[in-house]
């Protein structure tokens, strides 16, 4: 079945709401507006205002309310408009959701799912465009997901809700309109493994989320030049699947990590470090990285494009790694 990432996500939400009376959705404009990216369009009419709850612009309160409701036996799905806005709820996510289970000696788990958009590419400027998922991947107690395909957009929500602990799902804003094929017998996907999206022998390109289409395009361009790149989609940013990374790099002996976040202290730094730790003796070249320029993402189209990882940047980094 041909569908979009947005529709796949909506189908997952609809099924979750239909399957489990403990599940409810809350966030800014998820109801009457239909979701700021139209993901939850129609769900208010279908499930009513108790289960599709418009909230005030109070990120800390409604995320914290999700923490409390989860501890009280519900299965809340909290939507935050963008990762930039989630900083207003950082206290509840880091100090409570991620912490209470361990700090309470295992007494109170927090089965909370938080969804938010991330990333740039739509000329929304610096306060709507950053990629801060690496910050969340830093925190023990959280599971961090980044669906990059229509199938993962459809399939990741159910296992996230089944997880007894907090899960954050990052939806890259540029992916919502992306089309893809969905098997008719939609099933939950597993969350523990990275996926090899394209097999290759010459180097490993590691990425996730909104960069996956760019990296696949770069792999096609590299193929035309005789370089066969293997493309790994991390899918789960915490915990990272070290085995899939190591298995691939042990074969290809070269790796480039592509991440829309900034490189300094970022997720690409973590992935590169793990590859170096695990595969040092297999490597034939330094692990390369492609990230965003170390600037707040600007509005003007040419400046935004210059700040973000582009297909040509990935190709250049790959060619350097195999040179």
């Amino acid at each position: 079945m041909r569908t979009t990432y947005r529709d796949a996500m909506r189908a997952a939400l609809r099924q979750a709401l239909a399957d489990d009376p403990r599940v409810f959705l809350m966030g800014e404009d998820v109801g009457r507006y239909g979701g700021c990216f139209a993901v939850s369009l129609g769900l208010l009419e279908e499930f009513g205002p108790e289960r599709v709850r418009d909230t005030p612009l109070s990120e800390s309160a409604f995320v914290g309310a999700g923490v409390g409701a989860a501890m009280a036996g519900m299965r809340p799905i909290v939507e935050i408009m963008t990762v930039n806005f989630s900083l207003l709820a950082l206290d509840q996510i880091v100090n409570n959701a991620a912490t209470i289970l361990h700090m309470s000696g295992g007494q109170f788990n927090v089965p909370l799912v938080i969804r938010m958009t991330t990333g740039a590419g739509r000329q929304l400027a610096a306060q709507h465009s950053h990629s801060l998922e690496g910050w969340y991947a830093h925190v023990p107690g959280l599971r961090v997901l980044a669906p990059a395909t229509v199938e993962d957009a459809r399939g990741m929500l159910a296992p996230a809700l089944a997880d007894p602990d907090p899960v954050i799902i990052f939806e890259h804003g540029s992916l919502y309109a992306m089309e893809g094929d969905l098997p008719d017998d939609t099933r939950p996907v597993e969350l523990d493994h990275a996926a090899v999206r394209r097999p290759g022998r010459d180097l490993t390109l590691v990425t996730y989320g909104g960069c996956l289409p760019k990296v696949l395009a770069a792999a096609d361009a590299l193929s035309a030049e005789g370089v066969e790149a293997e493309v790994i989609d991390l899918r789960t940013l915490r915990p990272l699947d070290d085995d899939t990374l190591a298995e691939s790099v042990a074969r290809t002996h070269r790796a480039v990590v592509v991440d829309e976040g900034w490189r300094t202290g970022g997720l690409s730094a973590e992935v590169a470090a793990r590859i170096s730790e695990q595969c040092f003796w297999d490597l034939d070249a330094p692990v390369g990285r492609v990230g965003s320029a170390e600037v707040p993402i600007p509005y003007a189209k040419h400046m935004e494009e210059a700040a973000l990882p582009q297909v040509d940047d990935v190709v250049a980094a790959a060619l350097e790694a195999v040179s």
Binding site: R22, F24, E50, T55, P56, S58, S60, A61, F62, V63, G64, A65, G66, V67, G68, A69, A70, M71, A72, G73, M74, P76, D91, Q92, N95, N96, I100, L101, H102, M103, S104, G105, G106, Q107, F108, N109, P111, P140, G141, R143, A162, D163, P164, D165
Partner: protein
């Protein structure tokens, strides 16, 4: 909607109120022992004493049922004790023992207990309020007739989470009892130095939350106000707010040299000691005498002794367990 709490004159004291005295005394004697144990380095980290404020937790918690929830702050030994968390497990927690109510992971500031629905022990000022709103939301969505009592200091009123939480709870008419323990100082900063509008009840009223100002040094007044507020909250009339005017007799924490308040002020409030006040009234009515009080002291001392012995004999959590409960072991 802010109205002075209906006055009924001084509350009559009855034989049943001896239990309130006993609960306050448990908190007082437990914490006095904690000071000694801190000095002898058995207890470490930050430790915040509730001495002077015992009437607040004692009065409010006495109005809760076993299925209700409590969310408290880092100054929560008293709330945990009167809620029914065993003194043994609290003391063991402060010793960092695995037998502690949080396995020694939380310490003084992070007491948790599932069996009494005691949700911490929150050391981010204001951070417990959204969680209380969510607990009430979860209870309400599941058709449960429960109340969540959320304690916080007046310092939390300056946090955005206070305003967001009152608004959300009122908007959705959730069964939260907001209990603001106004002890006049946010650590060392006086209320009038941090609030343009120092009337706390007015702030709650701005969110259409019925708010009452209560003498937090009089446990009978606290209980009377809390009983009305809990009943109205449980009945579906939305959240209620109590400003409980109280005073901590001791320093903010064990590190506080108390430069921000003068000794005369502390002495003035000590004259209103809630334990002495209730003792005096019970005596005047002939409901307790020296023998009863001595027996009560003896019983409380025995409980504290037992808690300390339990903590002393406790064990350290195996270091191999360090990473347990980062995620759930039972993958439901």
């Amino acid at each position: 909607m802010t109205a002075p709490i209906p006055t009924a004159g001084q509350q009559p004291v009855t034989a049943a109120d001896v239990e309130l005295l006993r609960q306050m005394l448990r908190v007082r004697r437990f914490e006095e022992r904690c000071v000694e144990l801190y000095s002898s380095t058995k207890i470490r980290g930050f430790m915040h004493l509730y001495i002077g404020e015992e009437a607040v937790a004692t009065g409010v918690v006495s109005c809760l049922g076993p299925d209700d929830a409590v969310v408290a702050t880092y100054r929560e030994h008293g709330h945990a004790l009167v809620r029914g968390v065993p003194a043994r497990s609290i003391m063991a927690e402060m010793f960092g023992r695995v037998e502690g109510c949080s396995r020694g992971r939380g310490g003084s500031m992070h007491l948790f207990d599932a069996s009494t629905r005691f949700y911490g022990g929150n050391a981010i000022v204001g951070g417990g309020l959204p969680v209380a709103v969510g607990l009430a939301l979860g209870d309400r969505m599941q058709g449960r007739d429960r109340v969540t009592a959320c304690f916080f200091g007046e310092g939390a009123v300056a946090e955005g989470e206070f305003h967001e939480s009152l608004n959300l709870a009122a908007l959705w008419r959730l069964p939260v009892l907001f209990c603001c323990e106004n002890n006049l100082y946010a650590m060392g900063t006086a209320l009038e130095l941090s609030e343009s509008q120092p009337s706390l009840a007015l702030k709650a009223a701005a969110y259409e939350v019925p708010a009452w100002t209560v003498d937090g040094m009089d446990v009978l007044e606290v209980r009377r106000a809390a009983a009305m507020a809990v009943e109205a909250t449980r009945a579906g009339h939305g959240p209620h707010f109590l400003e409980l005017q109280t005073y901590r007799f001791r320093a903010h924490s064990m590190y506080d040299p108390e430069r921000y308040r003068d000794k005369g002020e502390v002495a003035h409030w000590r004259e209103r000691d809630p334990i002495e006040a209730l003792t005096g009234r019970l005596r005047a009515e002939g409901l307790v005498d020296d023998d009863v009080l001595a027996a009560m002291e003896q019983e409380v001392a025995a409980e504290v002794d037992d808690a300390v012995a339990f903590a002393e004999a406790g064990s350290d959590e195996p270091v191999e367990d360090l990473t347990r409960f980062v995620t759930s072991e039972d993958q439901r």
